[in-house]
Amino acid sequence: MGKKQADTGPLSRRPDNSAFKQQRLPAWSPSLTAQTVLPTFYILSLVCLFLGVWLLITVQKTHELKVDYTNAGTCEQCFELRKHAINTGTPCTCSVQFYIPQNFLGDVFFYYGLRNFHQNLRRYMDSRDDAQMVGRKNNLKAPSSYCAPFDYGANKVPVAPCGAVANSMFNDSFTVIYYPTNEPEVQVPLYRKGIAWYTDKNVKFRNPPTNNTFTLRQAFEGTIRPLYWQRPVYELDDTDSNNNGFINDDLIVWMREAAFPNFKKLYGVLNRAQGPFNQGLPSGNYSISIIYNFPVEPFQGQKELVISMVTWFGGQNYFLPIAYLVTGGLILVAAIGLTMVFVKVGKKGKNMEE
């Protein structure tokens, strides 16, 4: 078997008697019998129902609050102001009041949300240069053609970071203030760092090489800031010089383009080290004051602040729990139906007679 036979002799052309060549390989032939199908259906339906219930409980313990500030509160004026591009330089600040009905226990996350902003347009998504943002010196001065028309500014000065994505970076900033019932107002402290993926922060985005004498500013010499930006990339964060350049957390978060036109991106995490917030975010009255820079009127978009708790399951998303409950239910119904059919028709194998 398997051995090559001699080339001559009366049986020289006889095929090998191997299981493979004779198509007799040992095999497992499962088939859809009642013994296999019905238990599978019942078990799967139970699994789905169980998962559904578990997830539902989990999600119900997760609170989320969305505050749309597009033109709410005092932001009406800012909204009007940002309608026209001439006023880009004019600062505008406004604030919106909101109420948190229940305590947000544990870690609380603050997101900014945009609606109807298409970060997933093909040309928009392509309009970036990863090689530039990984800090390669050559690419810094010679942005990819994909970035056009945001690749070079006037006089052919390269833009850093180039491209439409970076150019349209979200640039509102928030200050959240808590109004305890009997106490003076407190600013809600936010961590604004550690909000990006580890891999993005450490691998995908890197600054051009610097050292003690060669500053970031010098590294970026010969480039200009993107058209819509008010500050150059090396001065994005005036509080922490290590958070400047391509490794700025807000920039990184923005550069991870959303898959859908409605999305939210992490802005900050509640710093629970202080006073009233060590359990989380207490219920009560709050306000946000917004430095309103980002225009949404052109694309009929909306902006919101999302405050959310997070569990092992992520944020508050009712889809999966409900989907599992519905699926489990459907499978159960199907299983019962199939059982009935089987009992009626196929139990004694009558249907299998010729």
Binding site: A27, R123, P295, V345
Partner: protein, 1189 residues
């Protein structure tokens, strides 16, 4: 330069069309002026330099590859390019290189063969002496010397030979597959040259003849020698490809060399067969193109609307190029989506289909159960592209001789002077079944006996030894009255070259019983009679033909006595007997009936002593008739008729035409599988009927067997209509023609009609000729297709092809033709699938067949096991392949609605590149190579399992539509569940996960797992290989994904792998896995539920058998072998002549025989009207016979 170009395979200047070939012997200079091709042949297509460009050029001519290139060009336009170039280039390169490798290995083989042939040596006459030359250096006009058993080097004009009368014997096996020897004769003028080298070197004959052509049977030309003109025809030409036999040497003048030879002109024009699935696939591909255009149109309209409504306001963030507006954007988007959605067009499908067809062909080659030990012949799939068609056969057209029967004739019984010999009787006088163990007659007393000849009745030998004059006369007749050519290589080792195996059997029988036919010249026959060498003077051979149905010889024995010996069909002989033989005739008739009942082929033998005077007188008139110019045949027949009368009966011989092993069982199995079998045979009606019964085609329990044997067109039509009305009274006059969906399409497809019960139909050659005419063929088709078994007798090769063509054209059914001889070639080539039996009659049938094996019984394994599996696998493959690609593609379509129809892909580009090539390629090939619903034994047990293939149930337009819907459902699940689960959620550490890259990873993982589960549901037969492929592919997916998204890869290929870290960051999230689990369940469970319901409510035969398999845990016992019952019947058997004309002409006059025209289909053009071929014959029907006891 010219040589370079011609080396590149490009003919610079179109060769002037040669109108006449003109050449002069021994004058190279003169001949070279015409630039005739020399004898080198080139079947290879490429050389080292041309291979790459030429092969690529050919490949890009294929639609699939051209489409790839078109896509590639689209992708290079930045405004359109929605995918990176590598998504197209990688698959294209893979496909191209696979084909390239295959073509390369093919061409290397061809080069080797060419070199081998071109470097053969032959003796060429150059400058007055014989020199050994390579074949390739032989030029037109050279004179070459051939020796015995050498291949003929080129197409030669025979000049002279060593044999008397300048005859040469050649074997044409390589050319037309016939192994019997043929004779060619040189012109006397050249024959006189002999082997005198000087004369030959001085020979300066000029030859003019036809330009090179491919007609093997025709040659016209003239030879001018010394101012005298001689006509040259085909009889003086030796064709390349033949082999010289029994001839010491011969000289020939090269007329056509190398590519101009008829052999080469005939090769390479094989018909390319395509399966019905191929046709369906082509139709589907066109539909898919349309569907693709439709989807792209929708999406581009969507894009126009979006750009108009929203895009305009998004310009702030994403400025448009100058002059771009919504409509331009929509136009570009259309093409971008053509690129993205191109995966619906199954380009890689073709490659995979080829691979799995090849695999299934190998399984046929490897099958031990189709290997014939006795001749060491395995089955062979000669065409590797038709396998799945084997699972859809509805009609089998079979040759009889050599296919159903072994074409080994054995002398079995005889009746001599009213005494029957051949039966073995035990002591009690009971007849004993002859088996292997039965004692054989000892022929050792006869040193010239053929050791392979067996006979079991001792009485006959005793009778011969005792010197019974009748018995001796009987065998003397057998030894003298025939046209067999003997060959005695060494003393006592005799070989007979017989035109028909019957004759061989009879002469061999005579040989063993002491009347050894030893040698013959045109005038004499030398026989060793009971050890005494005797020479008879051969005075006349009254040759066989189909009207006479007898042959006679007139010989003078050494004592000077004149005798006419005659053998022929019993009915014919009995009419010409002397009244004194009447009594003997009655006894012999009884014996004949007995033999016929056992399916033996019989001949009656008679003789007559002649007067010298009368004979002389007859001889003169015979000479007159044989030289007359007009109506020679008729005149000769009349002359023969005159002398063949008042014969004295000697007895009758019975030759057994042995059925091949397992033929009845095979036919029964195939009938159970609802395959209709038509036997098309050259035999006469009685013989064919008998074989029909003995091989179980015609059965006693059939309701009726119709015999169509009429002599006029109207009568034939009437008999056909009557038969049809009997089978189905309500069937109308107009054939039920399926309405063609394309008006104006010519083909009329006749639907099947309902019949109550089984019927058989026998139609004789003459009626068939009428029935095949244009106005009656549909009538024939309707009647014949209602019958379970059809036997057509006396069919010419052309008619065989016509019958097959008729069914092929008007029935929506797959046909298979099986045969072994050159006369089956036409039908083998015509049918959807041709099967050749590698048996007795040479290789011609095998060479033109698609599948070949040694025994008819392997057909059931080929169809019921291999064919069925191949069909099943192919359909499963196609269904699954379309499913996975459609599902893959539709997800893009849905995403279009969320990304502003901007032709953004859902998946990572690398995933798009590798999805078909790596992640899903092997599992689906594993599925379609190894899957079997039930094993081979169960397939035999339930031939009904074959039916779905015939009805095209597993893959049709309907099935395709279902796949489309299924894919649509799956893609909805696979897009919207991840969308809903992800659009508003975050990771467990609050960070982003609703980003594009995470979503792409999630969507592609869901997709891959869902289609893998679907593959699992399709798989019935999980071998280790399947497991390995499936799990392996999934692991490879994760391995590749993690590698591709790793830091290292990103730092090296920054702009090609932007998905850095995505796998690590999202595949560690529980909600991602929960989503994958949910999509998998939602995709697969409905399929399971639906299948389970169908199995319960409407189980197919397949489900039922699988149920039985589960119940019978042990494998079923092998089928009980049924032995065919011995049929006791009075049906008269056929007589033992199956050939056309004998060697009579040659034997007597030294003129060579007319070569029977049975070579290539193209050559049958002489009988355009089938009627012209068949001579009116009257046959008794079975009914008449059964009525007259």
């Amino acid at each position: 330069m010219g040589s370079l170009l011609s080396a590149c395979g490009i003919d610079v200047k179109k060769k002037k069309v040669e109108e006449e070939r003109h050449l002069r012997a021994n004058d190279r200079e003169f001949n070279l002026s015409f630039k005739y091709a020399n004898n080198a042949i080139k079947t290879s297509k490429y050389n080292v330099f041309t291979f790459l460009p030429l092969n690529l050029f050919e490949q890009f001519q294929r639609l699939a590859n051209a489409y790839f290139v078109f896509l590639l060009i689209l992708q290079l336009i930045p405004q359109i390019s929605s995918l990176s170039w590598f998504t197209t280039v990688v698959p294209l390169l893979l496909v191209l290189s696979i084909t390239l490798a295959k073509d390369l290995s093919d061409d290397i083989t061809r080069h080797k063969n060419d070199n081998h042939v071109n470097n053969r040596k032959v003796d060429v006459l150059i400058d007055g002496e014989l020199k050994s030359e390579k074949w390739m250096n032989v030029q037109v006009g050279d004179i070459i010397k051939l020796e015995n058993n050498q291949f003929v080097t080129a197409d030669l004009l025979l000049l002279s030979s060593s044999e008397p009368l300048n005859l040469v014997y050649i074997e044409t096996a390589e050319l037309d597959g016939e192994t019997n020897l043929k004779v060619k004769q040189a012109l006397t003028i050249t024959g006189d040259l002999g082997n005198d080298i000087q004369k030959l070197a001085a020979f300066n004959g000029e030859m003019r003849c036809d330009p090179p052509n491919n007609r093997l049977d025709k040659f016209t030309g003239t030879l001018t020698v010394g101012g005298e003109l001689f006509s040259v025809d085909n009889e003086r030409i030796l064709l390349r490809g033949c082999t010289l036999r029994n001839t010491e040497w011969c000289f020939g003048l090269v007329v056509f060399g190398g590519p101009d030879t008829k052999l080469m002109q005939n090769s390479g024009k094989s018909i390319f067969k395509r399966t019905s699935i191929d046709h369906l696939m082509n139709a589907l591909v066109i539909f898919i193109f349309g569907f693709l255009a439709f989807m792209c149109t929708i999406l581009s309209i969507g894009n126009a609307i979006w750009e108009y409504q929203e895009g305009n306001s998004f310009i702030v963030f994403l400025p448009r190029a100058d002059g771009a507006n919504a409509s331009l954007s929509a136009f570009l988007t259309f093409w971008s989506y053509v690129i993205i959605l191109n995966t619906v067009v199954p380009i890689s499908l073709y490659v995979s289909v080829e691979i799995l067809r090849l695999g299934n062909s190998y399984f046929i080659d490897w099958d031990r159960k189709m290997y014939y030990v006795k001749s060491d012949t395995p089955a062979q799939a000669r065409t590797t592209t038709l396998n799945e068609e084997l699972g859809q056969i509805k009609y089998i057209f079979s040759d009889k001789t050599g296919t159903l029967t072994q074409n080994i004739m054995t002398f079995n019984m005889c009746s001599i002077n009213g005494k029957s010999y051949g039966e073995v009787v035990d002591f009690a006088g009971q007849r004993v079944e002859v088996t292997e163990k039965t004692e054989k007659v000892d022929f050792s007393w006869n040193s010239l006996a053929d050791p392979k000849f067996y006979f079991h009745d001792h009485k006959l030998v005793e009778a011969v030894k005792l010197g019974s004059p009748e018995v001796r006369a009987f065998f003397r007749l057998l030894a003298l009255c025939h046209t067999v050519m003997p060959e005695e290589k060494t003393e006592g080792e005799l070989y007979y070259q017989a035109q028909s195996p019957d004759e061989g059997a009879l002469v061999t029988a005579a040989r063993n019983f002491g009347f050894v036919f030893r040698s013959r010249t045109p005038e004499t026959i030398s026989v060793v009679e009971m050890g005494v060498p005797t020479t008879y003077e051969l005075l006349a051979v009254l040759d066989f033909n189909n009207v006479r149905k007898r042959m006679s010889v007139i010989v003078r024995n050494p004592e000077g006595k004149l005798t006419l010996y005659c053998k022929g069909a019993d009915t014919i002989i009995f009419e010409r007997l002397h009244p004194s033989s009447t009594k003997l005739m009655e006894v012999t008739t009884e014996h004949l009936n007995e033999y016929a009942g056992e399916g033996l082929r019989t001949l009656a033998l008679a003789y007559k002593d002649l007067d010298e005077d009368k004979f002389e007188e007859w001889r003169e008139r015979h000479h007159e008739a044989s030289t007359s110019m007009d109506d020679r045949e008729e005149k000769l027949d009349a002359i023969y008729e005159e002398i063949e009368k008042d014969l004295l009966l000697l007895g009758a011989s019975a030759v057994e035409d042995k059925l091949q092993d397992g033929v009845p069982q095979t036919i029964e199995q195939l009938a159970k599988a609802d395959i209709k079998i038509w036997v098309l045979t050259g035999d006469k009606q009685e013989t064919a009927e008998n074989i029909g019964y003995s091989c179980n085609m015609l059965r006693e329990e059939m309701k009726e067997i119709f015999i169509v044997a009429a002599n006029t067109a109207d009568a034939v039509r009437e008999e056909l209509v009557n038969a049809r009305k009997k089978m189905s009274p309500e069937s109308g006059d107009e054939p039920p023609i399926e309405k063609s969906r394309f008006p104006g399409k010519k083909s009329q497809v006749v639907e099947d009609e309902k019949v109550d019960g089984e019927y058989g139909l026998v139609i004789n050659g003459h009626s068939l000729a009428f029935a095949l005419q244009k106005d009656m063929e549909l009538e024939l088709l309707r009647t014949a297709c209602m019958c379970q078994a059809v036997i057509c007798c006396r069919v010419t090769p052309l008619q065989k092809a016509q019958v097959v063509e008729l069914v092929k054209k008007h029935k929506k059914a797959v046909t298979l033709a099986i045969g072994d001889g050159a006369n089956d070639v036409s039908m083998i080539k015509t049918a959807h699938i041709g099967v050749g039996i590698s048996g007795q009659e040479g290789m011609q049938a095998v060479l033109s067949s698609d599948f070949s094996f040694a025994q008819f019984r392997y057909l059931q394994r080929l169809l019921l096991v291999h064919g069925r599996w191949s069909y099943l696998r192919m359909c499963k493959f196609l269904r699954y392949f379309f499913y996975k690609n459609f599902t893959f593609t539709f997800v893009h379509f849905w995403y279009g609605f969320f990304c502003g129809f901007s032709a953004q892909t859902v998946y990572d580009e690398w995933f798009i590149t590798l999805y078909n090539l790596v992640y899903t390629a092997l599992p689906v090939i594993g599925l379609s190579l190894f899957d079997q619903d039930v094993n081979d034994r169960w397939s035999f047990q339930y031939p009904q399992l074959y039916a779905p293939g015939q009805l095209n149930q597993y893959f049709s337009k309907m099935a395709f539509a279902r796949i489309l819907l299924h894919s649509c459902y799956s893609s909805l699940i696979l897009f919207f569940v991840p969308w809903a689960a992800m659009c508003d959620t975050v990771r467990d550490d609050g960070k982003d996960i609703a980003d594009y890259q995470s979503f792409a990873l999630l969507a592609q993982t869901c997709l891959l797992i869902a289609v893998s589960v679907q593959l699992g549901l399709e798989t019935y037969y999980w071998t280790a290989v399947n497991h390995f492929f499936l799990w392996g592919s999934l692991s490879v997916y994760f391995a590749v994904t993690f590698t591709m998204y790793s830091n290292g890869m990103y730092l090296i290929f920054t702009s090609f792998v932007p998905f850095i870290g995505t796998a690590r960051n999202s595949l560690n999230q529980p909600n991602v896995w929960l989503t994958i689990f949910l999509t998998t369940i939602l995709c697969s469970l409905p399929v399971v539920a639906k299948r389970f319901l169908f199995i319960q409510l409407k189980p197919t035969i397949n489900d039922k058998v699988r149920h039985k398999v589960r119940q019978a845990e042990a494998v079923p016992a092998p089928l009980p072998r049924k032995f065919p019952r011995r049929r006791i019947s009075t049906r008269r058997s056929g007589y033992a002549f199956s050939h056309a004309r004998g060697y009579g002409d040659l034997v007597t006059s030294g003129r060579f025989l007319r070569i029977p025209v049975k070579t290539r289909p193209a050559l049958f053009s002489h009988s355009e009207t089938p009627v012209a071929d068949s001579i009116p014959q009257t046959y008794r029907t079975i009914f008449e016979e059964t009525q007259s006891p």
